[in-house]
């Protein structure tokens, strides 16, 4: 099995390694597997020009230093056609990795995906747009909450802002368009629906998603050993809690600066 891919410039210091297929868990395993392969090679000093890697739904963005480009034979090609040699080296590496049998396993070998349970209060003051979602979908509050908290959402990638998780698996029945006019300030921890996506706002920001709940967890804490609550390929499940449970957990978090997550395999 050799997957086809294309290389696309993403500015003059990055390249997207793109796959022309819909987002899916198998594709993400390939993308994360490829990311791990690069990281391993970087640790071996094979890619001095690479600055960082950014996985996304259908591509892996590889950021490089234009002044450190190397070619396949390892020689600095600053004087020749450096970007061409670099692209050839890149293509060769990706092709080779994609044809190895255990690329998709690589992603989960390095780190076994976890199930991360995130407590969410779907009650009144925390669910400012739940009624609008009910009106749009024709479903009751209980039904919306049930549909939202049932799935084990796949984490495709982190990004946008620190700790934001891109999740897949929102039930089609509760897809709901973004607001025409974004709210000026969405509270940190707000859980929302925007189109076919669901997620959590890690920080208070303007936001256009329909807010249906809030988590007391801190999604991003630079002081924690792992500052975020999940990794790509993990699964997220939202667990409904009451308003008083929310208050209790919130207080606990403030005291200990730790996220309270229950991890189950």
């Amino acid at each position: 099995m050799s997957k086809s891919f294309s290389l696309q410039l993403n500015g003059d210091s990055a390249v997207d390694i793109r796959f022309d297929e819909d987002p899916s868990e198998p594709l993400s395993k390939i993308i994360i597997g490829l990311q791990r392969s690069f990281e391993s090679a970087i640790a071996d000093n094979q890619w001095p020009e690479i600055r960082e890697l950014i996985p996304a739904y259908q591509c892996l963005t590889l950021c490089y230093d234009p002044l450190l480009l190397t070619s396949a034979d390892g020689v600095s090609t600053a004087k020749l056609r450096p970007s061409l040699s670099f692209m050839e080296k890149l293509r060769g590496f990706v092709q080779q990795k994609l044809s190895t049998k255990n690329l998709t396993d690589l992603a989960i070998q390095i780190r076994t995906p976890e199930l991360v349970q995130i407590p969410v209060c779907y009650e009144n003051e925390y669910a400012t747009d739940l009624d609008d979602v009910c009106a749009h979908t024709g479903l009751s509050r209980e039904k919306v909450i049930a549909l939202h908290s049932a799935p084990k959402y796949l984490v495709y990638m982190l990004g946008f802002s620190p700790g934001f998780l891109y999740l897949g698996g929102l039930h089609q029945k509760i897809h709901c368009p973004r607001k025409q006019h974004p709210t000026l300030r969405v509270a940190a921890g707000s859980v929302g629906i925007g189109g076919a996506q669901t997620g959590i706002y890690p920080q208070a920001t303007p936001g256009g998603w329909q807010i249906i709940g809030r988590t007391p967890l801190t999604l991003f804490n630079p002081l924690r050993e792992y500052p975020f609550v999940a990794h790509p390929l993990d699964r997220i499940q939202f667990v409904p809690i009451t308003a008083s449970e929310f208050t209790a957990l919130k207080r606990e978090n403030t005291n200990h600066l730790l996220a309270v997550t229950t991890r189950k395999k």
Binding site: L9, N10, D12, D16, I54, G159, F160, P222
Partner: protein, 310 residues
């Protein structure tokens, strides 16, 4: 120690930022104009990315509680030390009790105040930069306020020095920014692409460290496909449905979903840090190899300055 007497609009501690964390949603951040930062640090014999203060649009009044040397590069303000005019681009000797005021902005948008001292600020993810959008790093994760005190150590005087004239930064407010084509550019009609490169865009007041929002010809986006979100690099010129381009900047979101028309080349991105409302920008399309060559040339020019400086 230095004390903030008056804060200015957005004065914050910055260095070269924290690269390598985009896959977690953390933008590199750091100084919006790395060239100005490097020149100010070079004057003092500091490492090029030594933490400094980034000063935007309205400057602060700062009181120094120790003797040290300082230097300011980048935007020009009517600066005064104890009421006496002082200039950008040269070492300024400061004595305990001296007060530096920034006065009205004359050109550019951001000035960099480098210190011959270390600020006693905790690093977060390896950098002292303030991530203003999220609120971490620097001093309490925010812009400086009146009354703030920054503890300094290793403060010293460095020898008097000034930048040779050809290195003194000047800003017209009308830059021509070189770009390479974006992935979705080919989906735009030929005439829309031509319109983009013909247009002089105006920088709107909604611009900030996250992104530079432009106003000008409304580009026809009807031919653009739905884009799936992917890594968004600074300098990327996106076109949202409204047809007005936005240039992703140092604290921009790390994943973006708008079509990418072009990317400001890395070598010209420092110019973005000196744009302010009502400035006008044009774009010039070049090839990737040229972009890399320009970057090498700019770096060589900066390095040859380091060789001539003592």
């Amino acid at each position: 120690m230095l004390r903030v007497v008056k804060a200015g609009l957005q004065t914050s501690i910055q260095d070269a930022g924290r690269p390598g964390w985009m896959r977690y949603g953390i933008a590199r951040g750091g100084v919006a104009d790395p060239v100005a930062m490097m020149l100010a640090n070079k004057l003092l014999g500091n490492p090029p990315a030594h933490p400094c203060l980034e000063i935007a649009l309205t400057g602060p009044d700062i009181e120094f509680e120790c003797d040290l040397s300082i230097a300011v590069c980048g935007a020009r303000f009517a600066m005064k030390l104890n009421g006496q005019e002082v200039e950008n681009d040269s070492v300024i000797q400061v004595k305990k009790g001296d007060q530096l005021g920034f006065g009205p902005l004359q050109s550019g948008a951001r000035a960099y105040l480098a210190l011959a001292a270390d600020m006693q600020i905790t690093s977060v993810f390896g950098s002292q930069s303030t991530h203003l959008q999220t609120g971490f790093g620097g001093l309490h994760g925010r812009a400086l306020k009146a009354g703030d005190e920054i503890q300094l150590c290793n403060n010293h005087q460095s020898r008097g020095s000034r930048l040779p004239d050809k290195y003194r930064l000047r800003y017209t407010g009308r830059p021509q920014l070189r770009v390479i084509a974006g992935a979705e550019a080919s989906y735009l009609s030929q005439s829309t692409r031509a319109e983009f490169y013909r247009t002089t865009f105006e920088v709107t007041p909604q611009s900030n460290r996250m992104g530079i929002r432009l106003k000008g010809a409304v580009l026809d986006t009807s031919t653009l496909p739905q884009m799936t979100s992917s890594g968004l690099r600074p300098g990327t010129i996106q076109v949202p449905p409204g047809g007005q381009p936005i240039i992703a900047f140092v604290e921009g979101q790390t994943i973006g979903g708008y079509p990418r028309l072009a990317h400001v080349i890395e070598a010209d991105q420092h110019i973005l840090g000196q744009l302010k409302a009502r400035d006008r920008a044009n774009f010039e399309l070049i090839e990737l190899e040229d972009a890399h060559r320009i970057q090498r040339e700019k770096l060589n020019r900066l390095q040859s300055l380091q060789q001539t400086q003592p």
